[in-house]
Protein backbone atom coordinates (compact mmCIF):
# COMPACT_ATOMS: atom_id res chain seq x y z
CA UNK A 1 0.00 0.00 0.00
CA UNK A 2 1.36 3.41 -0.97
CA UNK A 3 2.38 5.65 1.91
CA UNK A 4 0.53 8.93 2.35
CA UNK A 5 3.71 10.95 1.84
CA UNK A 6 4.24 9.29 -1.55
CA UNK A 7 0.64 10.05 -2.51
CA UNK A 8 1.03 13.69 -1.48
CA UNK A 9 4.23 14.07 -3.46
CA UNK A 10 2.67 12.35 -6.47
CA UNK A 11 -0.35 14.66 -6.38
CA UNK A 12 1.89 17.72 -6.17
CA UNK A 13 3.93 16.47 -9.11
CA UNK A 14 1.07 15.22 -11.26
CA UNK A 15 -2.42 15.71 -9.77
CA UNK A 16 -4.17 13.11 -11.91
CA UNK A 17 -1.58 10.40 -11.47
CA UNK A 18 -1.28 11.15 -7.76
CA UNK A 19 -5.03 11.14 -7.30
CA UNK A 20 -5.22 7.67 -8.85
CA UNK A 21 -2.83 6.47 -6.14
CA UNK A 22 -5.02 8.21 -3.59
CA UNK A 23 -8.16 6.51 -4.91
CA UNK A 24 -6.44 3.10 -4.87
CA UNK A 25 -5.71 3.50 -1.20
CA UNK A 26 -8.68 5.46 0.11
CA UNK A 27 -11.77 4.86 -2.00
CA UNK A 28 -12.86 1.81 0.01
CA UNK A 29 -12.08 3.01 3.56
CA UNK A 30 -13.61 6.42 2.90
CA UNK A 31 -16.74 4.88 1.38
CA UNK A 32 -17.15 2.49 4.34
CA UNK A 33 -16.60 5.31 6.82
CA UNK A 34 -19.38 7.29 5.15
CA UNK A 35 -21.60 4.22 4.84
CA UNK A 36 -21.40 3.50 8.56
CA UNK A 37 -22.64 7.02 9.25
CA UNK A 38 -25.36 7.38 6.62
CA UNK A 39 -26.26 3.63 6.31
CA UNK A 40 -28.01 3.80 2.94
CA UNK A 41 -25.83 2.69 0.03
CA UNK A 42 -27.31 5.28 -2.33
CA UNK A 43 -26.60 8.10 0.13
CA UNK A 44 -23.10 6.79 0.82
CA UNK A 45 -22.40 6.66 -2.91
CA UNK A 46 -23.45 10.30 -3.36
CA UNK A 47 -21.53 11.50 -0.32
CA UNK A 48 -18.41 9.52 -1.27
CA UNK A 49 -18.42 10.97 -4.77
CA UNK A 50 -18.81 14.51 -3.43
CA UNK A 51 -16.06 13.86 -0.89
CA UNK A 52 -13.54 12.66 -3.47
CA UNK A 53 -14.27 15.59 -5.76
CA UNK A 54 -13.80 18.02 -2.88
CA UNK A 55 -10.53 16.34 -1.93
CA UNK A 56 -9.26 16.62 -5.51
CA UNK A 57 -10.25 20.28 -5.77
CA UNK A 58 -9.04 21.39 -2.37
CA UNK A 59 -5.86 19.36 -2.08
CA UNK A 60 -3.82 22.57 -1.89
CA UNK A 61 -5.64 23.37 1.36
CA UNK A 62 -4.06 20.37 3.08
CA UNK A 63 -1.09 22.07 4.66
CA UNK A 64 0.09 19.44 7.09
CA UNK A 65 1.36 16.30 5.39
CA UNK A 66 1.39 14.50 8.74
CA UNK A 67 -2.36 14.77 9.18
CA UNK A 68 -3.34 13.92 5.60
CA UNK A 69 -5.50 11.02 6.73
CA UNK A 70 -7.29 13.15 9.32
CA UNK A 71 -7.89 15.82 6.67
CA UNK A 72 -9.45 13.24 4.33
CA UNK A 73 -11.69 11.80 7.01
CA UNK A 74 -12.67 15.27 8.18
CA UNK A 75 -13.97 16.14 4.72
CA UNK A 76 -15.78 12.79 4.45
CA UNK A 77 -17.30 13.21 7.91
CA UNK A 78 -18.41 16.75 7.18
CA UNK A 79 -20.08 15.69 3.95
CA UNK A 80 -21.80 12.76 5.68
CA UNK A 81 -23.02 14.96 8.54
CA UNK A 82 -24.26 17.52 6.04
CA UNK A 83 -26.42 14.84 4.46
CA UNK A 84 -27.58 13.58 7.85
CA UNK A 85 -28.47 17.12 8.83
CA UNK A 86 -30.49 17.59 5.67
CA UNK A 87 -32.30 14.33 6.44
CA UNK A 88 -33.16 15.49 9.94
CA UNK A 89 -33.79 19.04 8.81
CA UNK A 90 -35.79 19.93 11.89
CA UNK A 91 -34.16 22.39 14.25
CA UNK A 92 -30.43 22.45 14.73
CA UNK A 93 -28.42 19.30 14.43
CA UNK A 94 -25.23 18.63 16.30
CA UNK A 95 -23.08 15.74 17.34
CA UNK A 96 -24.25 16.22 20.89
CA UNK A 97 -27.75 14.99 20.36
CA UNK A 98 -28.29 13.00 23.50
CA UNK A 99 -30.05 10.19 21.72
CA UNK A 100 -29.71 9.56 18.05
CA UNK A 101 -33.19 8.90 16.81
CA UNK A 102 -31.90 6.54 14.18
CA UNK A 103 -31.14 3.47 16.26
CA UNK A 104 -32.51 1.16 13.68
CA UNK A 105 -31.27 0.17 10.26
CA UNK A 106 -33.54 1.49 7.53
CA UNK A 107 -34.60 -0.75 4.68
CA UNK A 108 -31.86 -0.92 2.11
CA UNK A 109 -31.25 -3.27 -0.75
CA UNK A 110 -27.60 -3.60 0.23
CA UNK A 111 -27.88 -4.71 3.83
CA UNK A 112 -27.68 -8.36 4.75
CA UNK A 113 -30.39 -8.57 7.40
CA UNK A 114 -29.78 -12.30 7.83
CA UNK A 115 -26.49 -11.56 9.63
CA UNK A 116 -28.28 -10.90 12.89
CA UNK A 117 -25.21 -10.30 15.04
CA UNK A 118 -23.66 -7.70 12.76
CA UNK A 119 -27.06 -6.03 12.24
CA UNK A 120 -27.44 -5.79 16.00
CA UNK A 121 -23.94 -4.34 16.35
CA UNK A 122 -24.73 -1.62 13.83
CA UNK A 123 -27.98 -0.88 15.66
CA UNK A 124 -26.01 -0.65 18.89
CA UNK A 125 -23.59 1.81 17.30
CA UNK A 126 -26.44 3.87 15.89
CA UNK A 127 -28.10 4.07 19.29
CA UNK A 128 -25.12 6.18 20.46
CA UNK A 129 -24.95 9.97 20.29
CA UNK A 130 -23.51 10.90 16.89
CA UNK A 131 -20.16 12.01 18.25
CA UNK A 132 -19.65 8.70 20.03
CA UNK A 133 -20.65 6.85 16.84
CA UNK A 134 -18.06 8.83 14.93
CA UNK A 135 -15.28 8.27 17.47
CA UNK A 136 -16.08 4.57 17.86
CA UNK A 137 -16.15 3.94 14.10
CA UNK A 138 -12.93 5.81 13.46
CA UNK A 139 -11.12 3.89 16.18
CA UNK A 140 -12.67 0.43 15.85
CA UNK A 141 -13.04 0.10 12.08
CA UNK A 142 -10.50 2.56 10.71
CA UNK A 143 -7.93 2.16 13.51
CA UNK A 144 -7.11 5.85 13.54
CA UNK A 145 -4.98 7.26 16.34
CA UNK A 146 -6.77 9.28 19.01
CA UNK A 147 -4.85 12.36 17.86
CA UNK A 148 -6.24 11.90 14.34
CA UNK A 149 -9.74 11.27 15.66
CA UNK A 150 -9.45 14.42 17.77
CA UNK A 151 -8.68 16.44 14.63
CA UNK A 152 -11.71 15.01 12.86
CA UNK A 153 -14.15 15.35 15.74
CA UNK A 154 -12.80 18.72 16.91
CA UNK A 155 -12.01 17.57 20.42
CA UNK A 156 -8.95 16.62 22.42
CA UNK A 157 -7.28 13.22 22.13
CA UNK A 158 -8.24 12.56 25.76
CA UNK A 159 -11.85 13.34 25.01
CA UNK A 160 -11.75 11.04 21.97
CA UNK A 161 -10.31 8.26 24.09
CA UNK A 162 -12.95 8.73 26.78
CA UNK A 163 -15.71 8.80 24.18
CA UNK A 164 -14.41 5.59 22.63
CA UNK A 165 -14.41 3.70 25.93
CA UNK A 166 -17.85 4.99 26.90
CA UNK A 167 -19.17 3.97 23.46
CA UNK A 168 -17.64 0.50 23.80
CA UNK A 169 -19.28 -0.05 27.18
CA UNK A 170 -22.66 1.10 25.88
CA UNK A 171 -22.35 -1.22 22.88
CA UNK A 172 -21.50 -4.21 25.09
CA UNK A 173 -24.52 -3.39 27.26
CA UNK A 174 -26.76 -3.15 24.18
CA UNK A 175 -25.42 -6.39 22.71
CA UNK A 176 -26.05 -8.21 25.98
CA UNK A 177 -29.60 -6.91 26.18
CA UNK A 178 -32.56 -8.47 24.40
CA UNK A 179 -33.27 -5.44 22.20
Amino acid sequence: MTEDKEIIQAIRKNPEKGFRLFMDKYKKPVYWHIRRLVVSHADAQDVAQETFIRIFRSFSQCRDDNSFKAWIYRIATREALRLMESRHNEGSFSLEQAEANVNRLPADEYIDYSDLESVKLQRAIRSLPTKQQLVFNLRYYDELRYEEIAEIAACTAQSAKANYHIAKEKIIHYMNSNE
Partner: protein
Protein backbone atom coordinates in the same frame (compact mmCIF):
# COMPACT_ATOMS: atom_id res chain seq x y z
CA UNK B 1 -16.88 -3.81 33.16
CA UNK B 2 -19.78 -5.69 31.69
CA UNK B 3 -18.93 -9.09 30.16
CA UNK B 4 -20.71 -11.25 27.64
CA UNK B 5 -20.47 -9.76 24.15
CA UNK B 6 -17.00 -10.16 22.70
CA UNK B 7 -15.89 -7.83 19.92
CA UNK B 8 -13.43 -10.47 18.74
CA UNK B 9 -16.29 -12.77 17.79
CA UNK B 10 -17.57 -10.33 15.18
CA UNK B 11 -14.43 -8.36 14.35
CA UNK B 12 -15.06 -5.83 11.61
CA UNK B 13 -17.82 -7.77 9.90
CA UNK B 14 -20.72 -5.56 8.79
CA UNK B 15 -24.09 -6.29 7.22
CA UNK B 16 -23.52 -3.58 4.63
CA UNK B 17 -22.94 -4.61 1.04
CA UNK B 18 -22.28 -2.92 -2.28
CA UNK B 19 -23.22 -3.92 -5.82
CA UNK B 20 -20.65 -5.87 -7.85
CA UNK B 21 -18.05 -3.62 -9.44
CA UNK B 22 -19.23 -0.68 -7.35
CA UNK B 23 -15.81 0.70 -6.40
CA UNK B 24 -14.53 0.70 -9.98
CA UNK B 25 -17.67 2.49 -11.06
CA UNK B 26 -17.35 5.00 -8.21
CA UNK B 27 -13.83 5.88 -9.33
CA UNK B 28 -14.99 6.24 -12.94
CA UNK B 29 -17.83 8.52 -11.84
CA UNK B 30 -15.46 10.69 -9.80
CA UNK B 31 -13.08 11.06 -12.76
CA UNK B 32 -15.95 11.85 -15.08
CA UNK B 33 -17.15 14.58 -12.73
CA UNK B 34 -13.66 16.02 -12.30
CA UNK B 35 -13.00 16.10 -16.05
CA UNK B 36 -16.38 17.60 -16.87
CA UNK B 37 -15.74 20.58 -14.63
CA UNK B 38 -15.20 23.76 -16.60
CA UNK B 39 -11.58 24.82 -16.35
CA UNK B 40 -11.20 27.96 -14.30
CA UNK B 41 -8.84 30.50 -15.78
CA UNK B 42 -6.62 32.28 -13.35
CA UNK B 43 -8.07 35.69 -14.17
CA UNK B 44 -11.63 34.44 -13.66
CA UNK B 45 -10.64 32.93 -10.34
CA UNK B 46 -8.91 36.13 -9.39
CA UNK B 47 -11.98 38.22 -10.21
CA UNK B 48 -14.20 35.84 -8.25
CA UNK B 49 -11.82 35.99 -5.30
CA UNK B 50 -11.92 39.78 -5.32
CA UNK B 51 -15.70 39.76 -5.53
CA UNK B 52 -16.02 37.28 -2.68
CA UNK B 53 -13.53 39.10 -0.47
CA UNK B 54 -15.17 42.40 -1.29
CA UNK B 55 -18.53 40.96 -0.30
CA UNK B 56 -17.13 39.50 2.91
CA UNK B 57 -15.48 42.81 3.82
CA UNK B 58 -18.71 44.71 3.15
CA UNK B 59 -20.73 42.22 5.13
CA UNK B 60 -18.25 42.33 8.03
CA UNK B 61 -18.34 46.12 8.06
CA UNK B 62 -22.15 46.04 8.02
CA UNK B 63 -22.30 43.58 10.90
CA UNK B 64 -19.78 45.61 12.90
CA UNK B 65 -21.85 48.72 12.28
CA UNK B 66 -25.06 46.99 13.37
CA UNK B 67 -23.41 45.56 16.47
CA UNK B 68 -22.19 48.99 17.47
CA UNK B 69 -25.44 50.79 16.74
CA UNK B 70 -27.99 48.08 17.48
CA UNK B 71 -30.85 49.70 19.38
CA UNK B 72 -31.95 48.08 22.60
CA UNK B 73 -35.32 47.09 21.13
CA UNK B 74 -33.76 45.16 18.25
CA UNK B 75 -34.18 41.41 18.88
CA UNK B 76 -31.21 39.04 19.04
CA UNK B 77 -30.54 37.08 15.88
CA UNK B 78 -32.49 33.86 15.64
CA UNK B 79 -30.45 32.34 12.85
CA UNK B 80 -29.82 28.67 13.54
CA UNK B 81 -27.20 26.40 12.08
CA UNK B 82 -29.82 24.91 9.78
CA UNK B 83 -30.57 28.40 8.39
CA UNK B 84 -26.90 28.82 7.58
CA UNK B 85 -26.80 25.34 6.05
CA UNK B 86 -29.81 26.17 3.90
CA UNK B 87 -28.23 29.41 2.72
CA UNK B 88 -25.00 27.54 1.98
CA UNK B 89 -26.81 24.92 -0.07
CA UNK B 90 -28.37 27.69 -2.16
CA UNK B 91 -24.95 28.95 -3.25
CA UNK B 92 -23.49 27.78 -6.52
CA UNK B 93 -20.97 24.95 -6.38
CA UNK B 94 -17.99 27.23 -7.00
CA UNK B 95 -18.90 29.56 -4.14
CA UNK B 96 -19.57 26.57 -1.88
CA UNK B 97 -16.12 25.25 -2.70
CA UNK B 98 -14.52 28.60 -2.09
CA UNK B 99 -16.13 29.00 1.35
CA UNK B 100 -15.47 25.36 2.16
CA UNK B 101 -11.78 25.68 1.30
CA UNK B 102 -11.40 28.99 3.11
CA UNK B 103 -13.12 28.02 6.32
CA UNK B 104 -12.58 24.25 6.59
CA UNK B 105 -9.82 24.71 9.16
CA UNK B 106 -11.63 27.41 11.07
CA UNK B 107 -11.60 26.29 14.68
CA UNK B 108 -14.54 28.46 15.64
CA UNK B 109 -16.75 27.09 12.86
CA UNK B 110 -15.66 23.53 13.66
CA UNK B 111 -16.61 24.04 17.26
CA UNK B 112 -20.02 25.32 16.28
CA UNK B 113 -20.51 22.29 14.10
CA UNK B 114 -18.93 19.68 16.33
CA UNK B 115 -19.75 21.41 19.56
CA UNK B 116 -18.38 19.41 22.46
Amino acid sequence: MEKGFDFNSIGKRMPYQVPDGFFDQLEKDVWKEIKEEPSQGKSKLCIRTHIVWGSIATLAAGIAFLLLLRPVWMPESTYSFSTVEEAFSNLCLEDQDYLFETYQDDVFLDNVFLNE
